[in-house]
């Protein structure tokens, strides 16, 4: 077959995109139908001042960051994983690490069709686990609230933005992936540490926090390209064969 006429996406991938688009559209309509029917059922007209004030604060930043995020994350998640993850959220603290851990355990290349399948499986399983836990959590919500709130230490440790779950996650995850690819980690780690140490306000600044990920990814990609061109990133097995 002529190379130019060879389709870029396989039949399976075409179907994944079709299913992804349809299910995303259903998801979107579902998300929007909740406030719509709420207003109809309870005969409420939204307070437009509050709406525009809120939307103006939220939309420009979250839309700009959202586009950068998807460009940055889609290659790590594959097609199926991206459709799923961008409906269910919790990307950096759950879906992307879950996909990477799954790929790592299965030992397949991220960009191959096998990688596509493994990341879809990982993201789907991760979504199911989280949703089941949230449902259990909701059923236990009242006793759990009382317990956590009665123990200040636990309240502090499990707080999402100020707590320590994310620290534990990235400590453990960091060791796994940095030990595999330590050369790739040097440039982004040094730059980001410098940013957060010399600009202490950056740690609590939401905009810098959100932008730091694509910036670090860009630094990592440039450094990787440089090292790749220099031949410093020769795969272990190839080096061993030599």
């Amino acid at each position: 077959m002529n190379k130019q006429t060879k389709p870029i996406l396989s039949e399976y991938e075409y179907r994944t995109h079709r299913l992804g688009r349809i299910s995303t559209l259903i998801g979107l309509l579902l998300i929007l139908s909740i406030p719509l029917f709420f207003c109809v059922i309870y005969d409420v007209i939204p307070n437009w001042t509050a709406f525009f004030q809120g939307a103006l604060k939220i939309v420009p930043m979250f839309y700009a960051v959202g586009i950068i995020e998807i460009i940055n994350y889609a290659p790590m998640l594959g097609a199926g994983g991206t459709y799923l993850a961008f409906i269910t959220g919790n990307l950096t603290n759950m879906k992307i690490p879950a996909a990477q851990v799954g790929l790592d355990r299965a030992g397949v290349e991220t960009t191959s069709e096998q990688g596509e399948i493994i990341s879809t499986i990982s993201v789907a399983v991760s979504t199911i686990v989280t949703d089941v836990i949230i449902i259990i959590g909701m059923l236990l919500v009242i006793p759990l609230t009382r317990w956590i709130n009665s123990v200040p230490v636990l309240q502090q440790v499990f707080d999402l933005s100020e707590g320590y779950v994310i620290s534990a996650l990235f400590g453990a995850l960091g060791v796994v992936f940095i030990s595999r690819n330590w050369k790739l980690s040097v440039a982004p780690l040094v730059c980001m540490l410098a940013l957060f140490i010399f600009l202490p306000g950056a740690v609590s600044n939401g905009t810098i926090g959100a932008l730091s990920i694509p910036i670090a990814a860009l630094i990592a990609a440039f450094a990787a390209r440089f090292m790749f061109n220099k031949g410093w990133l020769v795969k272990k097995e190839k080096a061993e064969r030599k």
């Binding site: 870029i8 996406l9 995109h17 299913l19 992804g20 299910s23 998801g27 979107l28 007209i45 307070n47 004030q53 809120g54 939309v59 586009i67 995020e69 998807i70 940055n72 790590m76 097609a79 199926g80 991206t82 409906i87 919790n90 996909a99 799954g102 790929l103 355990r105 299965a106 991220t110 096998q114 399948i117 499986i121 990982s122 789907a124 991760s126 199911i128 686990v129 836990i133 949230i134 449902i135 909701m138 919500v141 502090q156 440790v157 499990f158 999402l160 320590y164 779950v165 620290s167 996650l169 990235f170 400590g171 980001m192 540490l193 202490p200 990814a217 630094i219 990609a221 450094a223 790749f228």
Partner: protein, 235 residues
């Protein structure tokens, strides 16, 4: 309308029913993608063992990071009521986004005592985060095609690039935790140390079964240690 009446609407049947519909949708979508991928995996010769180990490691990994999400449900439920808070955390929302959105609307009116302000908050939360799905509907196919082309041109570089993008994410979020210092820094190093120890044990004893649990156990261990650090007043 009294605050009590508003509270009972926020925790009323309609929002619970919609929450259940959303949860069923999300679970069904995941199951459909999962079974398709599994079937395709078998077709192209991916071993069941590999797929199983990916599924098990993803499942065990996902348990611990789910805990703060459940707990953020408690915080959000205070303003939004239980069912809508649950719904928001089941779809795209993250705690940080929802709180920012709720605060942005609340600054213009009384979110707890005025149903029109509450409905405005519902709309802002729904609309403010739609960019990802909209992008996916219109552009993801083209974008994935471009990524695939890059891979066909240079597989080795495509793999390195994706590893680098992930490393960028680890570096940004990890550095932020390190720069916080105190308990955050100690917890991060505890997680790293525990994972290192598990790695050593796995290598030395060839305890394959431990591989799936090393990550969640290291996280739980580090979180337990963070409780100790906070109790000792190291924050």
């Amino acid at each position: 309308m009294t605050t009590e009446q508003i509270w009972s609407i926020k925790n009323g049947a309609y929002l619970y029913i919609m929450g259940i519909v959303v949860a069923i949708f999300v679970l069904a979508q995941s199951l459909i993608f999962l079974t398709r991928a599994w079937k395709r995996g078998k077709e192209i010769g991916l071993s069941t063992d590999k797929m199983k180990s990916a599924a098990v490691s993803s499942a065990t990994f996902s348990i611990v990071p789910s805990i703060p999400i459940v707990l953020s449900l408690l915080t959000l439920a205070a303003t939004l009521g239980v069912p809508y808070a649950w719904t928001r955390l089941t779809v795209i929302g993250s705690m940080i986004y929802e709180v920012t959105a709720a605060e942005a609307v609340a600054s213009a009116g009384n979110i707890s005592g005025d149903l029109s302000v509450f409905s405005a908050a519902m709309w802002v939360m729904a609309i403010g985060i739609l960019i990802g799905p909209i992008f996916n509907i219109f552009f993801l196919k083209k974008y994935q095609g471009a990524i695939k082309k890059l891979r066909e041109k240079n597989t080795a570089w495509a793999e390195v690039l994706i590893a680098a993008l992930f490393m960028g994410m680890i570096a940004a979020l990890g550095s932020k935790e390190m720069a916080k210092g105190g308990v955050a820094l100690l917890t991060l190093f505890s997680g790293a140390l525990l994972m290192g120890v598990f790695g050593l044990i796995i290598n030395l004893t060839r305890a394959k079964w431990l591989e799936n649990f090393a990550l969640p156990l290291s996280m739980i261990g580090a979180i337990a240690l963070s409780v100790l650090y906070v109790s000792l007043g190291m924050a």
